[in-house]
Amino acid sequence: MNISQFTTAASDYAVKVDRLFYLESVIAGLVVLLVTGLIVVFFALYYRGSSTPRGEVPERKSREIEIGWTVATLFSFLFLFWWAASDQLTALAPPKDALEIHVIAKQWMWRFQHPSGAREIDELHIPAHTNIRLAMTSQDVIHDLYLPALRLKQDILPDRYTYEWFNATKTGTFHFTCAEFCGTDHSVMAGSLVIMKPEDYARWISAQPQADDLAHQGEALFRSFGCSGCHTPGSTVHAPDLHGIYGHAVQLADGRTVTADEAYLRDCIFLPDKNRVAGFPPLMPNFSGSISEGQANALIAYVKSLTTNRAARTPNASPGQRGGSPP
């Protein structure tokens, strides 16, 4: 293993983080030099028994000094905060068009699912110069996907999605690892991040064992778990139609309005009573235990693929009252 697998700054963001780090290192170095320098000078001048003249420091002067360095410190810290915060804020919003890869962490391994349906374990291939968004969840305890070369780290929680996004600029093989203590084999829960040229990635992904893409897998599951029995327009059971639901606002029974994102859809599968949609009876069975996180990802991908175009074909579909007629 080579140290550059950790230290290479493989994205523009990583370069910015390094720049901030070096800036603060220089400031810290100067302060340490200042303090040590003063101590050495004072020791030399005012060592006990030395003949340097000493007198009182006037009250007024010492107050001025005191206020002076308080203000100076405050402003330099505010400056650092401003710099750090602007780096943080510009990196905040993930771009809309990002390539989305699902990450499932469990004691003590990593599973990745590409949009094409290709799966990997403890190894992640991604294209460079592409916005990548990792949608991550855990099957057991808290983990943390640490990508040293990208200077990124994000905890991964059970029953919740967290995200990391980046745009890698350097190709090569880098290290990634778990950074939140997760039990016995925490220290070996690691793998390699392979950043490839986009065309190489395209070649690589097409050479993967033929698997249906995630949405198609989801479609099959949608039928085999019996979801389609209720969630089809015209079904006799009164259940919300799912076409075009992703990304749109949903009115809930308790008066709240939420946006149907991955987390919401996931909750609908595992905690159906948590966010009941207004106007529908609580009939949805709880699938926690019978559907795995991986299958849930496929189902969610399928629901995301159901566009409004098809929904438009069904008559009477209006927001808040999606789905067929009452039984």
Binding site: V57, T73, F77, A84, A85, Q88
Partner: protein, 558 residues
């Protein structure tokens, strides 16, 4: 140094009539309500735990010499660093300075015969022992592997180790610090000697005051968060269980609401100690006394509002990250002021190079480094890159071990003659102080570097590219261990063979020194009255050879 007893302190035979003579049986110690004796009980107990915690981390550092381990399984490794954390935080660092020096000195520095509630004080030690019993049980029955942070759902559902007794032990010891805090606050408010106004309080007393506020208001939240973990693990009450809608991040909020202020519980007393030491050995009034007091109050209050900087990657909202980052930069300002003020205290002084001063200088250097790396971690992007790596490990050890333990040692050496009436060997003490500083830096500078390079913490096996840094760090740890053991030997030696110290070997102007050493049970031979500001060393400095003015005189003699 010769006996420089101040004129009005009767030259007593040191041994006779001191608090040490109030009873020699073990029972007399176990039932004492004298704050000085309770301080000694605490000092002995925390030393035992410091050694246990030290052995645990010694094994860890030995194991880490090789990237593939030497003699431990991963489970054993995880249990060792967990027990190291639990013991060092709650059974050593939190009680270290407050329960020993604070107990001994707060009443003496304010001119009181004892703390406000002497029996509560004894109870607090028994609570400590109660918590200690659970922790020792955990240790003997196979340990606990959650890390000292007890994060659910690992601690509540997945760990197969002794989480419940470990949490109960910490829960109990928490009430010991609450009791100590309440006691100090009541003492400082109600029992100051005549003339001892708020702005005549020595900075050590102010540090005890502020730390007590933090102890009283932060510790209960830790107790509650641990209680909820126990309730979930023992009875299945689903408070943090994600499958019932619980949020593990909420636990982290509660935990850090205590555990970040806990860092200030560890560092504020250290600030108090070195303020005393700097003033005495530079023979100089502490520069900017008012600002020093204000800075400590600021730290105690704002220190409660920064806990979220431990959770920048935990799934906290970006806005909360921003707020906590801002407040963390703000809380660094008073710490910086203190560093400048200590440095400025040396200006125009008569600086001596005795052992306590070397330890205090070690504190100043390491606290500066620790504080500055704190700025790195307050910056969200750098924190995201370095949190949960050795960079963070090195940062907080520099504050809590480099800072607090150096100051603890400075205090031990400074007040050793006060407590025991004996002088230790100055040469060995200086050697130990310098060794400790060098050993510390050799241990933790490599950790800063490998942390920035990407070495995650709590790792049993690690990529071999980091081996060189681990070996250096382990080498430093050996030196550090030697430096910690040396005082144990020469201080014990001084108890039996040390020279008598006289009442005031450092010719300090502190009120605690204006009474025989070791002090009588009632602390003062006559109730003191205070008529000067603290650190009245300036006259003292000029008339170095003739001895100085005392700041307090017994009532009726002034």
């Amino acid at each position: 140094m010769t006996d420089a007893a101040l004129p009005f302190v009767p030259p007593l035979d040191v041994r006779r009539g001191s608090y040490l003579d109030e009873g020699h049986t073990i029972l007399s110690w176990l039932t004492t309500t004298d704050h000085k004796r309770i301080a000694i009980l605490y000092a002995l107990s925390i030393t035992v735990f410091f050694l246990i915690g030290g052995v645990a981390i010694g094994l860890v550092r030995l194991e880490l010499i090789s990237p593939t381990g030497l003699f431990l399984t991963s489970d054993e490794y995880n249990r060792l660093f967990t027990i190291h954390g639990i013991i060092m935080v709650w059974f050593f660092l939190v009680p270290s300075i407050p329960a020993t020096m604070g107990n001994f000195l707060v009443p003496m520095m304010i001119g009181a015969p004892d703390v406000a509630f002497p029996r509560l004080n004894l109870l607090s030690w028994y609570l400590y022992v109660g918590g200690a019993v659970f922790t020792v049980y955990v240790l003997l029955s196979g340990g606990v592997d959650t890390g000292w942070t007890f994060y659910p759902p690992f601690s509540s559902e997945y760990s197969h180790s002794n989480v419940i007794p470990a949490a109960i032990g910490v829960f109990i010891v928490g009430f010991s610090s609450i009791a100590t805090g309440v006691n100090f606050l009541a003492t400082i408010h109600m029992l100051r000697a005549p003339g001892m106004t708020w702005f005549r309080l020595p900075l050590f007393v102010w540090s005890m005051y502020t730390v007590s506020v933090v102890m009283v208001l932060a510790t209960p939240v830790l107790a509650m968060s641990l209680l909820l973990i126990v309730a979930e693990r023992l009875f299945g009450l689903p408070i943090f269980d994600p499958s019932a809608g619980g949020d593990p991040v909420l636990f982290q909020h509660l935990f850090w609401f205590y555990s970040h202020p806990a860092v200030y519980i560890m560092i504020l007393p250290a600030m108090g100690v070195v303020s005393e030491v700097f003033a005495c050995f530079a023979r100089r009034r502490v520069f900017g006394y008012g600002f020093m007091v204000f800075a400590m109050l600021m730290i105690a209050v704002v220190g409660f509002m920064v806990w979220g900087h431990h959770m920048f990657v935990a799934g906290q909202s970006p806005l909360a990250n921003l707020i906590f980052s801002f407040l963390s930069f703000i809380v660094a300002v008073p710490s910086a002021i203190k560093v400048f003020n200590w440095t400025a205290t040396l200006y125009r002084g008569h600086i001596g190079f005795e052992a306590p001063m070397i330890y205090a200088l070690g504190f100043l250097g390491l606290f500066t480094i620790g504080g500055l790396t704190g700025l790195f971690l307050a910056s969200v992007p750098i924190d995201i890159a370095t949190t949960d790596t050795y960079f963070v490990v090195a940062h907080f050890h520099t504050i809590m071990v480099g800072g607090t333990v150096s100051a603890f040692m400075a205090g031990i050496h400074y007040w050793w003659p006060k407590v025991t009436g004996k002088l230790y060997n100055e040469f060995w003490a200086q050697l130990a102080a310098i060794t400790m500083f060098l050993g510390f830096n050799l241990t933790f500078l490599p950790q800063f570097i490998m942390g920035w390079l990407g070495m995650p913490r709590r790792y049993h096996y690690y990529p071999d590219v980091f081996q060189i840094w681990h070996v250096l760090s382990s080498g430093g740890a050996v030196i550090l261990a030697a430096a910690y053991l040396m005082p144990l030997v020469y201080l014990t030696w001084s108890l039996f063979c040390g020279q008598d110290a006289g009442n005031n070997p450092w010719r300090s102007t502190g009120l605690e020194w204006q009474t025989p050493s070791p002090p009588p049970k009632t602390n003062f031979l006559r109730p003191p009255r205070v008529d000067a500001d603290p650190y009245d060393y300036h006259d003292f400095g000029r008339t170095e050879e003739t001895g100085g003015e005392a700041r307090a005189r017994p009532q009726g003699e002034a």
